[in-house]
Symmetry: C2
Subunit: 418 residues, 2 copies
């Protein structure tokens, strides 16, 4: 069978699965998720042995230690994956929720009901736990999923998918509800992206290169996650101790994440008080500082930040520091350099807090809290399939609700259009 | 200047406009919409004279009467356009609405706030009133709009845009808030569709060919409106008089629209009672009937429907009639042939009504009401920019809310990620 047919048939299987998936009761979905979670534990040895094939191939190919670490499934990681499925089972089912309902002058009641999207395609890279995470969220929200994982993880992904499908089969459900494109041919992605007749949404999870390819080639709507260039603005009316803790947390707690701070903006009036103590704390934690001219004159010995540094997502212990004249200069800087992911203000002034909240156009805007809190679990969405930097359909952390659509429902008693 | 630069510069102008547009107060937006409306009336002669250039060119090219009619702006049509702007001014502004807010265990308050999307591209065909309608909705929802209208209407579109821009200018606002790509070169559309760095959403309005081109070439998210193949199922437990009125309305009231019925499904137990009277009413109104074998045996002399007829959007006084064994056969038929636009059941049975509402996966599902009611005005959204047949972001009639996105806002008092 040629590649085009292979991908088309897989997508067709998923589409048929979707028709069944959207009708499943919450109880049944929850039971099956728990069965899948149990099955991961029972069959952990099999998973580890398939995963070892991938790990050995990666070592042979000379992939980096970090890549191999991300690829490796240990017993404790399998337990975590299994726990993740049980947690998704415990979340509320969004399907069937009536989000609003109102009465029209002609007496008809019009409402909006949450419904599954249909077939969701997930295109991802090396971490095999995405296979379980993404599948559980799509399944819980009544969708079928069609997965295309990285070629380095193919054996791991196949065993995980086969375990989950066997639970579907045991329960006489269509296995197409969870479909895996089991070829390492990269062209499969392009074939997949043409099938807007069968696939309703694509969520790419991986580096910028993967996301760019998907956006450029997809006829299917894409929800994507570009980079996070995040800011904290420390106002002259900030509680400086709070500002220090927030900035430290935003940069240091986990610098490799998209919601970590990359540039700290500091009001000029408090810069001499605030910066030396703050800088010491950063330097003690091995953060490399780059400053604007003014901050370099306060903090001797730090590097001068270049224009291009303000656009960078370091994902590392590196931080730009810029002194600004006021909140307007801070907001203008954010408007120019921010990737509209997560931006924060620290201030005790009510009107500046409200101005910042309204004016800054980012997926999450914080007053007196760390940008690191931009996260589905932290926000209480229960779980997240990613943080969207798009403006269409979903912006910010995407939970189960974001994996649904709505339809209008109308209760009439004979209404006509006149 | 080459085409690529021309389109890029226009989009850049719109992007700069968007930064201003999202900050405008509701009061100012409403005032400006009313000023634009007044200006259309004051400058009606200019509009008509520019429009006449388009009409004459169209006549010279030998365009159809229907096309020329759609293109023509009379004084009364200008008054309607003007009234449309005033009506949009009277609608509630969705920007800034907090759709939810909740407290997290760490004390932070998390909310979702409606914000404008940014730059919305509208690609449309011959009707110049779209220029005013679409602009007013984008403007009211705090977005900048970049318009690309059909080449046949270019003079009409340009004068309408120039009138609206002059109101912006008089009020010292960026004219880029309303931007028109004033070239008839079709390649401009493709250039536009590449600019995902500047344009946030594309809404195509026109025939299937235009929409297909846009979907195949766009890197920007698209909200589209494909065809409507709509059904009414008359159950054996229907109030037959109500069913007759609903079916008649759904087919005859305005057959050229996307929410008109194309196939009537009738339960076998009432077909002999229902069909003869119903068919007479249709035939009296010049509806051409095509029936399944069983209906042809009840209604002598009507044509036999072919398999492909059930997929057709007639947009005309033509109707398929099919007799089904029960609600399941009706829903299976809908699942196979419907374009998931608007589908209705007529029944007095509670559980069948609820089953149909839940199971049928269309943008609007009706119990005991005409499919013709699937419309932004009828549903009370105030105005509509189209009826989305997509599942992402917006499904069904799109009003002002659907032209917004949301962002998360967080009120903290020092919360950190731990």
């Amino acid at each position: 069978m040629d590649l085009k047919d292979l991908v088309f048939n897989k997508a067709l299987e998923a589409k048929e699965g979707a028709i069944e998936a959207r009708r499943l009761s919450s109880d049944l979905k929850n039971t099956l998720l728990v069965e899948m979670a149990d099955s991961f534990i029972k069959r952990a040895n099999e998973i580890i042995s398939e995963n070892q094939k991938d790990v050995q191939a990666a070592e042979k190919k000379g992939l980096s230690k970090a890549m191999i670490d991300r690829l490796t499934l240990t017993r404790s990681r399998i337990e975590e994956m299994s726990k993740g499925l049980v947690e998704v089972a415990q979340l509320a089912d969004p399907v069937g929720e009536i989000t609003k309902m109102w009465k029209r002058p002609n007496g008809m009641m019009v409402g909006k009901m949450r419904v599954p999207i249909g077939v969701i395609g997930i295109i991802y890279e090396s971490r095999p736990n995405v296979t379980a995470d993404a599948t559980s969220l799509c399944f819980k929200s009544g969708n079928a999923v069609i997965l295309r994982g990285g070629s380095e993880a193919i054996n791991s992904n196949k065993i995980l998918v086969s375990i989950m499908r066997s639970i579907l089969k045991e329960n006489n459900l269509k296995e197409g509800i969870i479909t895996y494109i089991d070829t390492t041919d990269r062209e499969a992605i392009n074939e997949m992206l043409k099938l807007d007749c069968l696939i309703d949404l694509i969520i790419p999870r991986g580096g910028e290169g993967l996301i760019r390819t998907v956006v450029e080639n997809s006829r299917i709507p894409v929800l994507k996650h570009y980079k996070g260039v995040c800011h904290v603005y420390v106002d002259n009316e900030a509680d400086l101790k709070m500002a220090e803790d927030i900035c430290f947390n935003a940069k240091v707690q986990r610098p490799g994440t998209c919601n970590a701070m990359e540039t700290m903006l500091v009001h000029k009036d408090i810069s001499k008080d605030f910066l030396p103590k703050m800088a010491k704390r950063f330097i003690d934690s091995k953060v490399q500082l780059k400053g604007c001219k003014e901050s370099c004159s306060i903090l001797e010995g730090i590097e001068l930040a270049q224009e291009e540094d303000y656009y960078k997502e370091y994902l590392d212990l590196v931080l730009n520091i810029k002194i600004v004249a006021d909140i307007d200069e801070a907001m203008n800087h954010i408007s120019k350099y921010s990737s509209s992911h997560s931006d924060a203000i620290v201030t005790k002034n009510y009107s500046k807090a409200m101005t910042f909240l309204k004016e800054v156009d980012s997926s999450a805007v914080f007053v007196n809290a760390s940008t690191r809190l931009n996260d589905g679990y932290q926000f209480g969405l229960g779980a997240e399939i990613g943080i969207s930097t798009d403006k269409i359909h979903a912006r910010g952390p995407m939970g189960l609700e974001e994996l649904t659509s709505t339809k209008f429902i109308v209760f009439g008693d004979g209404q006509l259009r006149t």
